[in-house]
């Protein structure tokens, strides 16, 4: 049996069944946690397209999601249309910013460390810009965002708003999984592997390094931009602080690394673990930052290959399951 083909359907079915088993009516606490879990899984998988595939460490996930959010919300209010109509525009705006940054970085042949410092500077500049643009973002205090609803679906299915939002995230994550799978199993994946291993020899064999890196950057930031408008639906409002480095990027990075880069399941497993740890620490909220700091150190020193790879290697070693396991 070829597991590769069933990897995504299995994940989607399991994730789609979660609300049936765990969500309870009137208890938004649980559905909120599961929705946040999908939010981080999607962001981490998007980052994998840039960081995992082409070694471009983009540390402005939060800011990019902010660009997607504010573009979509502002467009909707200027044009007087529903937020549904402008989500794609938000994603495109985010994707264009990402593509330009990655294109310039690739043209200037910036290495992974310079890209990380460059994007973290951009991230901080973006947050300050959001703070300064009070007319659009409501400044420090934030603003309410129009709700994304679909009466027809929610009333037929008997879903609560958060359940609907959960399935919206699942739809987005599924689309991203399909894109990720397609990219890594086509000529793009081959080019990404070559670029990651040796950029110079990739270029010398005719791989358009700059174009591929810019494209990977576009795909990653496009999806991050799409996540933004859904993210602010959880609370119904948006503040610039919600897109901060410490709020988004740090967790997304931990999730990607703990789950495993260059795998489809990695971000999902990582997000499940980190969201669980975060919940378990609710009782000891004040120790949260400490625990995540310690995790970051230990993960990067000892666990850089991630749980999914670790489990796969273990299974391959012990039970000789080589071809039968999903990645």
């Amino acid at each position: 049996m070829n597991w590769e083909r069933y990897k995504i359907p299995v994940a989607v079915i399991v994730l789609a069944l979660l609300p049936v088993f765990f969500f309870e009516e009137g208890v938004s606490y649980v559905s909120r946690i599961f929705t946040i879990f999908l939010l981080y899984a999607t962001l981490a998988l998007a980052l994998d397209v840039a960081f995992g595939q082409t070694d471009q460490l983009l540390l402005f996930t939060g800011g990019i999601a902010g660009i997607g959010t504010y573009t979509a919300v502002e467009m909707a209010s200027v044009l007087g249309v529903s937020l549904w109509g402008t989500i794609l525009v938000g994603g495109l705006a985010a994707g264009i910013v990402g593509a330009v940054v990655c294109w310039v970085a690739a043209r200037r042949q910036l290495n992974v460390i310079v890209i990380s410092i460059l994007t973290i500077s951009l991230q901080l500049a973006m947050i300050q810009t959001f703070n300064a643009l009070r007319d659009i973002t409501g400044g420090n205090t934030g603003m309410e965002v129009p709700a994304l609803t679909a009466e027809a679906i929610t009333s037929t299915m008997g879903w609560e708003p958060l359940t609907f939002l959960y399935y919206l995230f699942l739809l987005l994550l599924t689309a991203l999984m399909v894109v990720h799978h397609y990219l890594t199993n086509s000529k793009y994946g081959l080019a990404f592997d070559m670029i990651r291993q040796d950029e110079v020899s990739a270029a010398s064999t005719g791989v358009a390094v700059v174009r591929y890196k810019a494209f990977a950057g576009f795909v990653a930031t496009f999806f991050m931009g799409l996540v933004g408008p859904l993210y602010v639906q959880i609370g119904g409002y948006a503040t610039p602080g919600m897109f901060q480095f410490a709020t988004i990027d740090v967790l997304v990075l931990i999730i990607l690394v703990v789950g495993g880069m260059r795998t489809i399941y990695g971000p999902i497993v990582g997000a499940a673990l980190i969201v669980y740890v975060n919940e378990a620490l609710q009782a000891a909220q004040e120790f949260r930052t400490m625990v995540f700091g310690a995790m970051l150190i230990v993960l990067f020193l000892y666990f850089r290959n991630g749980i999914v790879r670790y489990a796969r290697d273990l299974a391959v070693d012990r039970f000789d399951l080589g071809d039968r396991l999903p990645g």
Binding site: I117, L122, A294
Partner: protein
């Protein structure tokens, strides 16, 4: 003299003071990166550690100068422990991988220490120096800025003597230029890295203390200090000591004027924009 000119001169003094503080922080990044390829993203937390320790120690002893000394020694010991444990593990890998592990290791350390400090120090703090406003020829100058400048100049004077006259200082510059050559000359690189890391943490703590003369600082703003330090170091060329000092002064003056005339948000945006442009135009050593 016109009121405008007086205001500009008053702001220039503030700008130089903030520039010297930025230069002290940036120097810590530059030295540690130049010697070992580790971008120390925990440097801001050492500044905050310095501030809260001065207050604790001053409370116990009753004398600010003794308090400052105790705090500097304590920060030195903490950074020594970090160097022996975390950085020893980071130095086991090589090249770009070491830089990456260094970034995330020190970022984790920054979050860990920030989380630990905020448990006990949730507020904003400033060291009560009780320095008044001065009026020179009609120009209003903040006394705290003058004290910061004076102390900053003393620190840089000492650092100059260290790098120019002492064996350790010359060895540090040698390793930054050519590690293999330095090793062949019998310089113990690892020992030097330990010394320079502790030095950078102590200078950062001093910078934090000077910073808290001019305003209140909270533990949560330590990451902002780190980012400013990284930007100063990057703009200065990452491995150039002189470049870092000049970059710190220029950025301090630019942000002080931007802060006064177009607002705090735009001052921050200006700082990041300078960094972004410099990274794109001249990535320097860090891009090698």
């Amino acid at each position: 003299m016109a009121v405008g000119a007086r205001l500009l001169i008053g702001l220039l003094v503030d700008g130089i003071s903030s520039g010297l503080i930025l230069a002290m922080l940036g120097l810590g990044i530059t030295l540690v990166f130049g010697l070992g390829g580790v971008l120390n993203l925990a440097i801001g937390i050492f500044s905050l550690l310095g501030i809260v320790l001065v207050m604790e120690a001053t409370g116990l002893v009753g004398n600010v100068f003794v308090g400052v000394l105790v705090a500097l020694v304590a920060v030195g010991l903490v950074s020594l422990a970090v160097d022996r444990s975390l950085l020893s593990l980071v130095y086991r890998s090589e090249g770009q991988e070491r830089t990456l592990i260094g970034i995330f290791g020190t970022l984790g350390l920054a979050f860990f220490l920030e989380g630990a400090l905020i448990l006990r120090y949730p507020d904003v703090y400033s060291i009560p120096a009780e320095i008044e406003l001065l009026r020179v020829a009609g120009i209003v100058i903040r006394g705290s800025s003058l004290v910061s400048i004076a102390l900053g100049l003393v620190v840089f004077g000492l650092l100059y003597v260290f790098f120019d006259r002492t064996y350790m200082g010359q060895a540090t510059r040698t390793v930054m230029q050519d590690e293999v050559g330095a090793t062949l000359c019998g310089i113990d690189t690892r020992q030097l890295r330990t010394f320079v890391f502790v030095l950078s943490a102590v200078v950062a703590a001093l910078a934090g203390m000077l910073y808290s003369f001019t305003g209140e600082v909270g533990v949560a703003s330590s990451f902002q200090l780190t980012i400013n330090a990284v930007i100063v170091s990057v703009v200065g060329g990452v491995t150039s000591i002189t470049g870092t000092v000049v970059a710190g002064l220029i950025l301090g003056i630019i942000t002080t004027y931007a802060d006064a005339f177009v607002g705090a948000y735009f001052a921050a945006i200006a700082l990041f924009s300078v960094a972004i442009v410099v990274l794109l135009v001249r990535p320097g050593e860090i891009g090698a």
